[in-house]
């Protein structure tokens, strides 16, 4: 009973320290998306390179695909871009871009300059489709399955680790 008096504060301290340590390692910018496991929001947008061609969510039904949100004004997008170009060459998954709140010439010029990893980029002029996808920190990457359900969301630039540890396993699971 006497020893409890010394152990209890130590225990309380350890529990508190545990919580704080966990808090230090959490990234407050990584907000868990409520969209995971839900159908991708429906959209119909024009293509960045062709204002006359529209692209709808349901065009991709039956395929596993990747949606990468980017913009020419987005610095972090440039950071991830070489990796995305390299990843697209492996042909693991069709990659579509969501050109978020950009201007057509700027977006097209950006792709011409840094390379185009996308099968197509969709032009989200006023950012409404971005809002429907819960986008708040460009770049963001989604993986959508054959039924049109969002299965993975990554906020911020892709890294080799993210591709290896989250994207590739998810793709092989969905394509199995």
């Amino acid at each position: 009973m006497k020893s409890l008096r010394y152990i209890l504060p130590l225990l309380a301290f350890l529990i508190l320290a545990g919580f704080l340590a966990r808090g230090l390692n959490l990234d407050p910018r990584e907000v868990p998306s409520p969209l995971i496991g839900k159908p991708a929001p429906s959209f119909a947008l024009t293509r960045l390179d062709d204002p006359a061609a529209t692209f709808k969510r349901d065009d991709m039904l039956g395929k596993v695909w990747m949606l990468n949100v980017w913009a020419s004004w987005c610095v972090a997008c440039r950071e991830e871009h070489p990796l995305l170009v390299e990843f697209s060459k492996r042909g693991l998954v069709p990659i579509y871009g969501l050109n978020y709140k950009d201007k057509r010439p700027d977006g097209q010029g950006w792709l011409a300059r840094f390379g185009n990893p996308y099968n197509a980029s969709l032009f989200d002029d006023d950012g409404r489709v971005g809002i429907d996808f819960g986008v708040y920190g460009v770049p963001e990457t989604f993986i959508i399955d054959k039924q049109g359900v969002i299965r993975l969301k990554h906020i911020g630039p892709l890294t080799p680790d993210v591709i290896r540890e989250r994207i590739e396993p998810m793709l092989s699971k969905l394509n199995a």
Partner: protein, 162 residues
């Protein structure tokens, strides 16, 4: 040997003070807020502000959507404005936001199983504290009598009497 030359002269102090005041004056215009665009419908604008003041801006997480000047916050204010003018009620707008960004956007998180600790944790801690206090006080009251030695009359005996 007087080292009076190191003592700051009042004249120099005044100059420094003057400069500081001048600096403050140049900083003042930065405090002025940019004027909000004149709203077409003040009542709707007021409702919009009231709702968005309850929502967290995800770009700058310590600001509300009403306060933030981030692009996304501007877009979301426009979205709320449009939904209100369509006749949507508050609950529908809150639902719209949580569907996209999760409960994290709410500055007042809902009471549910995963947030019980958040809501009731502080009260629990307070109860625990009172409990501990009660235990300590009761124990102290019980032990008080035996903890202290009875006064020894000899110690307080008046030396003049002996």
């Amino acid at each position: 040997m007087h080292n009076s030359h190191t003592r700051p002269r009042p004249g120099r102090l005044l100059v420094v003070l003057g400069w500081l005041l001048a600096l403050c004056a140049t900083a003042l215009p930065a405090l002025a807020n940019d004027a909000a665009p004149a709203a077409a419908d003040p009542a709707l604008e007021a409702r919009m502000t009231r709702i968005t003041a309850e929502l967290r801006c995800l770009v700058c997480q310590n600001q509300t959507i009403a306060d933030s000047n981030a692009d996304l916050a501007v877009d979301l204010r426009r979205q709320v404005r449009e939904m209100l003018s369509k006749g949507d009620d508050d609950a529908k707008i809150i639902q719209y936001m949580t569907d996209r960004y999760g409960d994290f956007v709410l500055y007042r998180p809902p009471v549910k199983a995963t947030t019980w600790l958040l809501w009731f944790g502080p009260a629990l801690m307070l109860l625990f504290g009172f409990g501990a206090l009660a235990v300590v006080m009761r124990r102290r009251a019980r032990t008080a009598a035996e903890q202290f030695d009875a006064d020894d009359p000899a110690l307080f005996a008046d030396p003049h009497q002996s």
